[in-house]
């Protein structure tokens, strides 16, 4: 079975909610829809207090090139435009909507019929994806329309669908595949059409045999160009670079875009959202969220409207258990720990993980014993112990020499460190600083080149 070539770790999978059916989470009396739900610039709210909105009404416009539309997930009246806490407790602007009934925009096709014919053309698909506010559903929330329009030098060859779900605990993609296999396949075809390619792979880790089986069966039934690729269990297989490496064996060059390998990677949730957007005209207003944890009585997968309070979701599985030490938005390897439950479900929220006190506490860090386990675990071939040390001591040149900019922040190093050192904490400090230096250097080089060119031209003109 295929997998990526360097490093990797094996965290306990703990897929407690695997196989649990998708439940529809109740719509609360008030929702708050944050305006910063995508990677890049936050969206701008275009509604004001007292405005009436329906499900699917646009309430936020892109705030830049790398940004996306935001739609109302409920029908009702705009209560206020204020700030809410995001998952890390920081304040972001949001639109509060008082829920009244459940009236949808008429353009949305609410029937459950599966539409197989793709009527839209390449550019129309990309426009539709933008209009419907689709972002990467794996957690990175990269605006999909930007990813579907690669630089002209790129030569797309295939679409790779990320259904790996290598994060422990999370099962939202798994449950989505079991429930909507055919829609996903159509979504993949739409993505192929948008990219102008004729080949697609769906990478699924081997711990989801039912999903592999079902997707294979579905693909065999009218989707000949879609290949299901079972992958060996290893974290971080769901990382974009690792997935490309595992599925087609190519390496994304350091500093380059993944599309340089000819592969476009999209999350399986994104493929489904694209299907709904293009075929059903339905904006991204709901997603599947796994609410799980060892102390949770009934871990489950919830189809949740965007903007529902996180506390409501936890309430749906029986409330915060007594012995809770940490609540994480996302999975345990890359998710964000929440200081409280006052935040709201956003497009990138794939799971709510409740950890017991004993699991939540980090152990005290000891001295580095130079065992090299972090080096062997790193999927990018870096030496995390050096990176962390250089970052801590602000030795940025050395950190650059050790290629800190290649770090994908997967956490494999810290996971495997026997001395419990906070390696990634420190690497995350140094990486942006080095990236800043690199950017500045590139800008200076560009300015210099331009100045030289201008001088040459001036000399030539003389």
């Amino acid at each position: 079975m295929k997998t990526f070539k360097l490093g990797g770790v094996h965290p306990a999978a703990n897929k407690l909610s695997a196989g649990a059916p998708i439940q529809v989470a109740a719509v609360p009396a008030v929702v708050a829809i944050p305006m910063a739900q995508n990677l890049g610039a936050p969206s701008k709210a275009i509604v004001a207090k007292g405005d009436k909105v329906k499900v699917g009404t646009v309430i936020g416009e892109p705030g830049g090139f790398l940004s996306s539309f935001v739609h109302s997930s409920v029908s009702g009246t705009v209560d206020k435009v204020d700030v809410v806490e995001d998952a890390t407790g920081k304040k972001v602007p949001a639109v509060f909507i008082k829920v009244e009934g459940d009236e949808w925009e008429e353009s949305i096709d609410r029937s459950t019929d599966i539409v197989r014919d793709i009527k839209l053309e390449k550019q129309q698909i990309i426009d539709k994806v933008k209009e419907m506010g689709i972002v990467g559903m794996g957690g990175a929330t990269f605006p999909t329309q930007v990813k579907l329009a690669p630089p002209p030098t790129a030569k797309p060859e295939c679409v790779i669908i990320n259904a790996v779900e290598c994060e422990p605990y999370l099962t939202s993609d798994h449950s989505l595949m079991l429930a909507h296999a055919e829609e996903i396949c159509i979504g993949v075809q739409i993505l192929e059409k948008a990219m102008g390619v004729k080949k697609a792979y769906i990478g699924i880790e081997a711990n989801k045999p039912d999903a592999i089986e079902l997707m294979r069966k579905t693909a065999a039934n009218g989707f000949p160009e879609i290949e299901i690729v079972p992958l060996q269990l290893k974290y971080p297989q769901g990382g974009e670079k690792q997935l490309i490496n595992a599925v087609i064996g190519k390496e994304v060059p350091s500093g380059g875009l993944p599309i340089a390998t000819g592969a476009l990677v999209q999350n399986v949730g994104t493929a489904f959202a694209v299907y709904e957007a293009v075929q059903k005209n339905k904006p991204l207003i709901e997603r599947i969220v796994t609410v799980t944890g060892k102390s949770v009585a009934k871990p489950g997968n919830f189809l949740t409207r965007i903007g529902v309070p996180v506390a409501n979701l936890i309430e749906a599985v029986g409330g915060v258990p007594e012995d809770t030490g940490k609540i994480i938005s996302g999975g345990p390897m890359m998710g964000k720990a929440m200081p409280d439950t006052n935040s709201y479900v956003v497009k990138g929220c794939s799971g709510i993980l409740i950890m017991k006190n004993a699991e939540a506490r980090r152990k005290e860090a000891g001295p580095c014993i130079r065992c090299g386990k972090c080096v062997h675990a790193c999927p990018m071939g870096l030496q995390p112990n050096f990176l962390a040390r250089y970052s801590e001591l602000n030795m940025l040149d050395e950190a650059e020499g050790e290629r800190i900019y290649d770090c994908i922040e997967c956490g494999s190093c810290q996971f495997s460190c026997p001395a419990n050192r906070p390696l990634l904490d420190w690497i995350r400090q140094g990486k942006p600083k080095v990236m800043g230096i690199l950017r500045q250097r590139a800008a200076e080089a560009k300015a210099k080149a331009e100045a030289e060119k201008a001088a040459k031209e001036a000399a030539a003109a003389k």
């Binding site: 670079k241 345990p332 939540a360 090299g372 062997h376 990018m380 071939g381």
Partner: protein
């Protein structure tokens, strides 16, 4: 109240203490064999060595460095057992104590404790003893017991004499050294017991294969070259003396060995080469400890210049 930290929020559960414990478990087969082979001598030396190492580490952390005790990480126990493995089973206890003091004090704590030392502490202790007490350190018991035991030559010294042109000597039997019925330091005699421990460590992923395999392969190759293309003598290099102990347990010491696979391979090959050179051309019949210590000194350099295989970087 909730805990907040950056990801990852889960940990493998591995710890320094567990790693050390694994090493101790890996040392068990050879230790049991030495108890069988050398009887009370092996028991006394091992217990004394471990006890003195723990004592000195405790005293140094408590009274010199004024830092919290580090006995719990078990690294002093590993050093103690490894030091015991490297001395003859009839060594006077006061010499063992001096060895432990040098191993823990000079080998480890002067650098700042675990993780900061340049050289393998047990080897620092052993080489100090070898230089300071050459007579006691090179009288090898060939029977069980502690005091007044009969001593004899080790296979390595016989090989050295053969290689130097002495005639009328039997080439030591490969199987004897493999099983461990010949004379030598306490823990190094049975290659097979050490191998079993090494395989255990590999299965538990406490060590990787790179260092042991590269040492053994390079020792075999250079042994073949330097001992007049004699297959028998080359094979004997692998099982005689401290080769197995060094390759599996001493050279793979986390702190003093390189961290990435490429560096480890280079380090291992150099150790194999140096060992054979010292054994063949040096004054001592055994060269493993010196070879490892020499390469320990090069470890920072290897870490600096030998980089792991990078992802997404194509060689031009």
């Amino acid at each position: 109240m909730l805990n907040v930290s950056l990801s990852p929020h889960v940990h493998s559960g591995n710890s320094t203490q567990k790693c050390m414990l694994q090493v101790l478990v890996g040392l068990c087969p050879a230790l049991l064999w030495s108890f069988y082979q050398f009887g009370s001598g092996a028991v006394i030396i091992t217990l004394a060595s471990v006890a003195f190492c723990l004592l000195f580490e405790f005293l140094i952390t408590r009274f010199l460095l004024n830092t919290p005790s580090t006995l719990g990480d078990l690294s002093a126990v590993v050093t103690g057992v490894l030091l015991a493995f490297n001395v003859p089973s009839n060594l006077p206890i006061w010499i063992v104590a001096i060895g432990a003091l040098v191993a823990i004090g000079v080998g480890k704590m002067v650098y700042g404790g675990l993780g900061a030392n340049v050289f393998n502490p047990a080897l620092v202790g052993r080489v100090f003893l070898l230089v300071a007490y050459p007579v006691q350190m090179t009288s090898w018991p060939v029977e069980a017991g502690y005091a007044d035991v009969e001593t004899g030559a080790t296979p390595l010294s016989i090989i050295k004499r053969i290689a130097n042109g002495e005639t009328g000597l039997d080439v030591p039997a490969f199987m004897d050294s493999l099983l461990g019925v010949s004379g030598g330091s306490l823990g190094e005699v049975s290659a097979i017991a050490l191998l079993i421990g090494g395989i255990y460590l590999l299965i538990r992923k406490t060590i990787t294969w790179h260092i042991p395999v590269s040492i053994l392969v390079s020792a075999l190759v250079f042994g073949f070259l330097f001992y007049g293309f004699d297959v028998q003598l080359a094979l004997d290099q692998l099982v005689c003396g401290g080769m197995m102990l060094g390759a599996i347990f001493m050279a793979t010491d986390y702190v003093s060995s390189p961290m990435n696979s490429r560096g480890q391979l280079l380090y291992g090959c150099c150790i194999g080469f140096l060992t054979i050179v010292i054994r063949r051309y040096g004054a001592y019949p055994e060269g493993m400890s010196f070879a490892i210590l020499i390469m320990n000194a090069f470890t920072p350099l290897i870490n600096k210049y030998i980089k792991p295989q990078r992802f997404g970087v194509v060689k031009k």
